[in-house]
């Protein structure tokens, strides 16, 4: 049993996102991915995946959330038949990854973490090559190519060499080449890492569109925000094990609301006093308060509404606030809540959306 699971039984049982707005049709309720006891040990002894069980139903937008080195890419490579599992069984679209790998390759789209396009070919030639490689019938190729160029908004640059494209355009082209054979299941390995927010939002739009059309999507990400925006359900993976599973709302509920970071002037006794005030603060019924290096961090459902009132309370207690920031929970907060462990600093991704003073 991975750490943390005992305390959050409701997470693993809660299947669908309750607040799902997009109407989707789950045909037949088949299973896209079925994983039983998957383990993968690299030849140098690194156990990248240690006993993963999971099921992704057809039509779902499923996410793997975890820091660098958690085993996300290894898992996706096993599902895409690029790596053979050390033990356990994996069935993708009903086929076994070991004995029916070519059938899996015919029925999946795969977008690697590193953008994978041929820079010496034009956008159109890249998609055309993918059409031929996946055996799209000759008569349908031209139409499919223009369809996909249109989907990823590259019609105007169809004849330009991919070398000159921006990072976002390359990613979109990469995504298009993964869809030429209209696969019922698409793997996206950290598809938006390194993109600016505009390019990222645009890609999200495409992924939603594809998913709305019935394609199952398996995505890995380091960003809770991305998982929140896109996924119906997600699993949090850490050190090769799934430590939590549920809808994004479930996971954020686990964090316990939004996070208010306060910087204070003075030493530990000031922080202790501030922490006591925050714990007893009436507007935060269920606040979690921790002392940090510069002040305190308060997590509460109502942090955004009543954050300023807490500042007033600090002033009344003659504490000097040198800075504060209200933000939505980050992956780091989720991990802290689920595992009780902080991520190492280089793994932290703070996508702060709060106000700073």
């Amino acid at each position: 049993m991975p750490p943390g699971m005992e305390d959050q039984p409701e997470l693993s049982r809660n299947g669908q996102r309750p607040d799902i707005e997009r109407a989707k049709t789950y045909t037949e309720g088949g299973t896209a991915i079925e994983v039983d006891g998957l383990e993968l040990v690299y030849s140098d002894g690194t156990a990248a995946i240690q006993g993963v069980d999971m099921t992704v139903p057809e039509g779902e937008f499923f996410g793997f959330l975890g820091p660098n080195g958690a085993g996300k890419t290894t898992a996706i490579k096993v599902f895409a038949t690029l790596l053979s599992p050390t033990s356990g069984t994996v069935r993708v679209n009903g086929f076994d990854v070991r004995s029916e790998s070519r059938k899996i390759r015919q029925t999946i789209g795969y977008m690697a973490q590193e953008t994978s396009i041929d820079p010496e070919l034009t956008a159109e030639e890249n998609i055309k090559f993918a059409c031929e490689a996946y055996g799209v019938p000759r008569g349908e190729r031209a139409e499919r190519v223009s369809e996909l160029l249109d989907l990823v908004d590259l019609v105007d640059v169809a004849d330009k060499g991919a070398e000159e494209f921006s990072g976002g355009m390359k990613k979109r082209l990469d995504a298009a080449t993964a869809l030429v054979h209209r696969p019922p299941l698409v793997f996206l390995d950290e598809p938006t890492t390194g993109l600016d927010p505009k390019a990222r939002n645009r890609l999200w739009e495409y992924f939603r569109r594809i998913n709305d059309l019935g394609t199952t999507i398996f995505l890995t990400t380091q960003y809770l925000e991305e998982a929140d925006q896109l996924c119906d359900r997600l699993a949090v993976i850490l050190d090769g094990q799934i430590v939590a599973e549920g809808s994004p709302a479930d996971l954020k509920r686990e964090v316990g609301g939004e996070v208010l970071d306060v910087e204070l002037e003075g030493g530990p006794e000031v922080r202790a006093e501030a922490a006591t005030i925050a714990r007893e603060f009436d507007a935060f019924s269920d606040a979690k308060v921790v002392e940090t290096e510069e002040g305190i961090s308060v997590t509460a459902q109502t942090a955004r509404q009543y954050g300023t009132d807490l500042m007033v309370a600090f002033r009344d207690a003659e504490l000097t606030v040198t800075g504060f920031n209200i933000r939505t929970p980050t992956l780091d907060d989720v991990f802290l809540a689920i595992t009780g462990e902080e991520l190492e600093t280089e793994q932290m991704e703070t996508d702060q959306t709060g106000v700073s003073e």
């Binding site: 015919q106 690697a112 994978s116 070919l121 369809e147 249109d150």
Partner: protein, 293 residues
């Protein structure tokens, strides 16, 4: 607007593959690598312009001096005729290096993995790529032969001999194609592959019968030339060029004529191709297998 969802049913029912055959898959890759070769100026410059510069400079600068040494071994030929077979082998050598560079680039820009997740036959993928490279080498050798004729060289065996020279060039290039791919997989680095393969190019060419008859060269070079594949390729091609047995390192008299100079060289080259090809195929299949590495 025509998005893939225009007919929603099609998304769910997976399109069945049109059933590309082995040759279909090889053809897809053959086309891609030819397109890349045309797009990449580096490929053409390194593997064609450089040998052309050699051909012109050597014949112009050394032609008068070397002509005497050449005539001692093969009476009555000019240096152009002597040099053209060597330049065809140089083209084969230089063009073969770009095979490994192409593989490294594919690994670096993710296309290697991308191609591996397609349902294409793995062997066909590499057969297609290699075929594109050999096709390019054949064309480049043909260009050199035409240029050589223009400069005053003579192919005594005529058109059939020219085809034979191209065939020898392809046989010669195969072991170096395999070698550069081996370097590519082992180093997975473009610079190392280029340096590794290029460093070998000039010693291999100069320490052979390519530019001067072995008899005119120091003893240690004569010794090295015996184990240098370039000597076998050049002597075989040159025998076809002048229609005489000018193979200097193996003496046979199986046929009593030109073929005595061609066949032993071809046998040695086929042996080298099998040896280096075997290593490259082993490494390639290991690099593309899903076994945990």
């Amino acid at each position: 607007m025509s998005t893939p969802g225009a007919d929603e049913g099609a998304i769910k029912t997976e399109d069945s593959r049109s059933g590309n055959s082995f040759f279909g898959d090889a053809w897809v890759n053959f086309k891609r690598w030819n397109l890349k070769a045309v797009r990449n100026p580096f490929v053409l410059v390194v593997s064609l312009v450089q040998p052309i510069i050699f051909l012109v400079l050597f014949t112009e600068v050394f032609g008068n001096v070397a002509g005497g040494a050449v005539n001692q071994g093969i009476p009555g030929i000019n240096y152009e005729t002597y040099l053209v077979p060597a330049i065809t082998i140089q083209v084969a050598l230089a063009a073969a290096i770009t095979s490994g560079i192409g593989l490294v680039n594919d690994i670096e820009n993710g296309m290697f993995e991308k191609v591996l997740v397609t349902p294409m036959n793995r062997t066909a993928i590499f057969v297609g790529k290699t075929a594109a490279e050999l096709f390019r080498i054949a064309i480049q050798i043909a260009i050199i032969l035409v240029l050589g004729l223009f400069l005053g060289a003579e192919i005594v065996t005529g058109f059939v001999g020219a085809i034979g020279i191209i065939a020898v060039g392809i046989l010669f290039s195969l072991w170096f194609v395999a070698f550069s791919n081996t370097l590519a997989i082992l180093t997975r680095d473009q610079e190392s592959t280029i340096i590794g393969a290029n460093l070998l190019q000039f010693p291999l060419l100069f320490l052979s019968s390519a530019f001067l008859p072995l008899a005119a060269l120091p003893g240690w070079i004569q010794t090295f030339a015996r184990i240098n594949p370039v000597t076998y390729g050049v002597d075989a091609a040159r025998s076809l060029m002048v229609d005489q047995d000018v193979m200097t390192v193996i003496e046979v008299s199986w046929f009593g004529g030109t073929l005595d100079g061609v066949v032993p060289g071809v046998i040695v080259l086929i042996g080298l191709d099998l040896l280096f090809g075997g290593i490259a195929v082993y490494l390639l299949s290991r690099a593309s297998s899903s076994d945990v590495k």
